[in-house]
């Protein structure tokens, strides 16, 4: 009897182990996975993919000023657009390439997204054209959970009928993914065509720097530490005054465009400040341009700075003027501390200090000017006197004094 029970217990143990193996082993899933389309290295694509490097140093500037062709949203730096019924154009608006990039597609009447393209590497500012595999035949596609979906051949796609999204394990992409701004960025040549001298023509070398500045600036605007400070600007001003041992100089908090009379300011409510914060990150269009005269300019879609800002200053956080012009672009005039640095400092001063702090803690997408080496490309620059930008944190930086190296965006 005891032997019988022992045998049964052995049988039970065998049964249990088999049951577990069948229910949850890795092997169980392997037969469910499909044969996926292989990964693509975009570095050396055949001519049939029409590969180009956008903003190559010697590219004709007419391409960067073609607003129907060169445009990007700051939160979609890997851009996928349907170019024809069976082709997708992939562009990377980044001065540094990305590894392991999965471009997902979502099509109507199926709620899950699947991997349409997997790039092992996309070089900086790369663009190429890819046939939509769905139009070539019936294939398996990888779902987010690793399983497969089989989709029958589809003859072609109408405009906008694929919703693209991108994922990547690349640490740089992890940073870029955090950018909340949906601003549409373009370059506009009518400024220097209509008012040459006040504005100057740019070229792809400068455009690459402008894009780098825009990405870093948008990351900083999106940063939780910035949001926290922006929403509590009154506290920022108080702390600044306490450290200096003075009263708060000028306005105590954010205020609007009304003229400041006898120290009276048109202060915003917390709700208004919250809305203004999101205005800085909304989906409006910004035209980046370059000025040649005494004044940088901003307003409406325009935001512009000097060549020196693009080539050099932004690498050490010199974004005070850029931030000022961007403030005009968002809708603020010189009476508001959201565009003006007077009256004891405002947005432009705070943003420059914040960017410097982010460079110090290496918490920006791009902190190394070597990625572009623009100061060496003198044949493309108006001034020949640039040297490699060297960054050094000011020990009185209010963010350094308060956060002491902490605050990296996790």
């Amino acid at each position: 009897m005891k032997q019988k029970i022992a045998k049964k217990i052995k049988l039970l143990a065998l049964l249990l182990s088999t049951a577990f193996l069948y229910s949850c082993s890795e092997d169980d899933y392997s037969y469910e996975k499909g044969t996926f389309i292989p990964a693509i290295d975009a570095t050396n694509l055949p001519a049939s993919f029409k590969p180009i490097t956008m903003f190559a140093d010697d590219e004709d500037p007419k391409f960067m000023y073609d607003k129907s062709d060169r445009w990007f949203r700051v939160n979609q730096l890997v851009q996928a657009v349907i170019k024809s019924k069976n082709e997708v154009q992939i562009s990377l608006y980044s001065p540094v390439g990305l590894s392991d990039v999965k471009v997902y597609a979502k099509i109507p009447n199926y709620e899950k997204r699947f991997v349409l393209y997997h790039f092992s590497y996309i070089p900086a500012f790369h663009r190429s054209i890819h046939t939509i595999p769905l139009t070539e035949g019936t294939h398996d596609y990888e779902l987010e959970n690793g399983n497969a979906v089989t989709i029958e051949q589809i003859e072609g796609f109408a405009n906008g009928s694929i919703e693209f999204s991108v994922e990547s394990s690349d640490p740089l992409f992890q940073k870029l993914k955090k950018i909340k701004s949906q601003h549409l960025v373009q370059f506009h040549d009518q400024y220097h065509i209509n008012e040459y001298g006040k504005f100057l023509p740019m070229n792809p070398v400068l455009a690459k720097e402008a894009i780098t500045l825009m990405i870093n600036f948008s990351y900083a605007l999106s940063h939780p530490l910035y949001y926290e400070t922006f929403m509590n600007f009154d506290r920022f001003k108080r702390e600044q005054a306490e450290r200096a041992g003075t009263e708060v100089i000028g306005a105590k908090d954010w205020h609007g465009n009304n003229a400041d009379a006898n120290g009276e300011y048109d202060y915003f409510t917390k709700q208004q400040i919250e809305k203004i914060y999101w205005d800085w990150l909304d989906s409006r269009t910004v035209y980046m341009a370059m000025v040649g005269g005494d004044a940088a300019l901003g307003g409406g879609p325009l935001s512009s700075v000097w060549e020196s800002t693009y080539v050099s200053s932004h690498w050490h956080g010199g974004v005070s003027v850029w931030s000022h012009e961007y403030g005009h672009h968002i809708g603020f005039g010189h009476s508001s501390n959201l565009a003006n640095g007077g009256e004891g400092g405002g947005q432009q001063e705070m943003m420059a200090q914040f960017m410097q702090y982010l460079i110090h803690i290496q918490d920006l997408p791009f902190t190394d000017p070597e990625i572009l080496k623009t100061w060496t490309k003198t044949q493309y620059l108006n001034s020949k006197n640039y040297s490699k930008p060297i960054f050094k944190i000011n020990q009185n930086n209010p963010f350094l004094l308060k956060y002491k190296g902490e605050g990296t965006w996790k």
Partner: protein
């Protein structure tokens, strides 16, 4: 015995557990379809009697395609697109009235209903195109201020006129003896509107209107219309209001139904879209389109399309920009999770 029992229970428990282990993945594999539109054919000016095509409204019935083309009704074979006839006059006995500025069409119960911008609704025999009757005498201050839309069922006939007004008649009252100045039994409001053509269809006991100015599809339930009919005639404030769900910034332009789908034209930010929704969801005002396209694949954007009708897998669209009837084929591809 006790040990045996425990053994049996434990065995059963673990067998059950082992089956439950991965049932989520096995049990919820999605199988669905992706739908899309390809261009199949077109009817152009060349296929018309007078080399002139400026289509405003379209309707399919009995494998025939009926098109309002300014001052004529064109009838085509819906499958081979050959012209069957062109009707330019309402003829009844000695009465002849030119069909002018046609805006809208609906066919039901063997009768063709044609709305005219010139303040008339014509009713023709579907078989021989003979005139049966007409409502309105052509004077805008009489029965209708223009006619911008028409829909009809066994019970009710709806006529959209200027501004926000839809007049409701009993279908049974429409026959060869109907007076031109027949009085409506109820009045509906479209909440917003001016002098645009309004596309209307009847589905599942509801009048459904593509209410472009209200950024909504408008739903009027027949029971509600009947119970509020007499009160609705007592001043503008009492007109029967629709159920609406705002689709801003989208503006519905046209709507059509078959046994499974609601298919529509919408406009958003200057772009026209053809959309297709599961009909049941659409009637519950749940708008999850399985198609939402601004072009047929490989074709230019739709531009000025005004009306749509579906017959099997073929979809007919009036395209005023290109002065043609665009004939699209609905296709699908299987999506199967593994």
């Amino acid at each position: 015995m006790e040990i045996k029992k425990i053994y049996t229970y434990i065995t059963m428990l673990f067998i059950s557990l082992s089956f439950y282990g991965c049932s989520d993945d096995d049990g919820n594999l999605i199988s669905t379809e992706f739908y899309y539109l390809t261009e199949e054919a077109e009817i152009t000016e060349k296929n018309t009697p007078n080399n002139n095509l400026n289509p405003s409204a379209i309707f399919t019935a009995n494998e025939k395609l009926y098109i309002c083309n300014s001052n004529e009704l064109l009838v085509y074979d819906a499958l081979n697109y050959s012209l069957i006839t062109s009707v330019t006059k309402f003829k009844k006995g000695t009465t002849e009235i030119a069909l002018t500025n046609l805006t809208s069409i609906n066919i039901h119960g063997g009768k063709i209903y044609l709305g005219s911008n010139d303040s008339r609704l014509f009713v023709l025999d579907q078989e021989n195109y003979d005139g049966i009757t007409f409502l309105g005498n052509g004077q805008w201050w009489q029965t209708f201020v223009h006619v911008f839309g028409v829909a009809v069922s066994d019970e009710l006939l709806f006529v959209k006129e200027k501004d926000q007004s839809i007049k409701v008649f009993e279908t049974i009252a429409i026959n060869e003896n109907t007076p031109w100045n027949l009085k409506p039994i109820a009045l509906l409001t479209t909440n917003a509107g001016g002098t645009e053509n309004y596309n209307m269809k009847i589905e599942d006991g509801n009048l459904v209107v593509a209410g472009r100015n209200a950024n909504s599809y408008l739903y009027y339930n027949f029971n509600s219309i009947k119970s509020n009919a007499s009160k609705s005639l007592e001043g503008a404030a009492n007109r029967i209001k629709p159920r609406v769900e705002s689709l801003k910034p989208s503006k519905p332009i046209a709507v059509s139904f078959d046994d499974k789908w609601a298919i529509s034209i919408e406009e958003a930010s200057g772009t026209k879209y053809i959309k297709m929704f599961p009909k049941q969801d659409f009637m519950y005002m749940k708008y999850n389109p399985v198609i939402s396209n601004s072009n047929a694949i490989g074709q230019p954007n739709f531009q000025d399309i005004t009306d749509i009708s579906k017959n099997g897998d073929l979809i007919y669209v009036t395209n005023r920009t290109n002065k043609r009837i665009q004939i699209l084929r609905l296709k699908s591809s299987k999506i199967q999770e593994k």
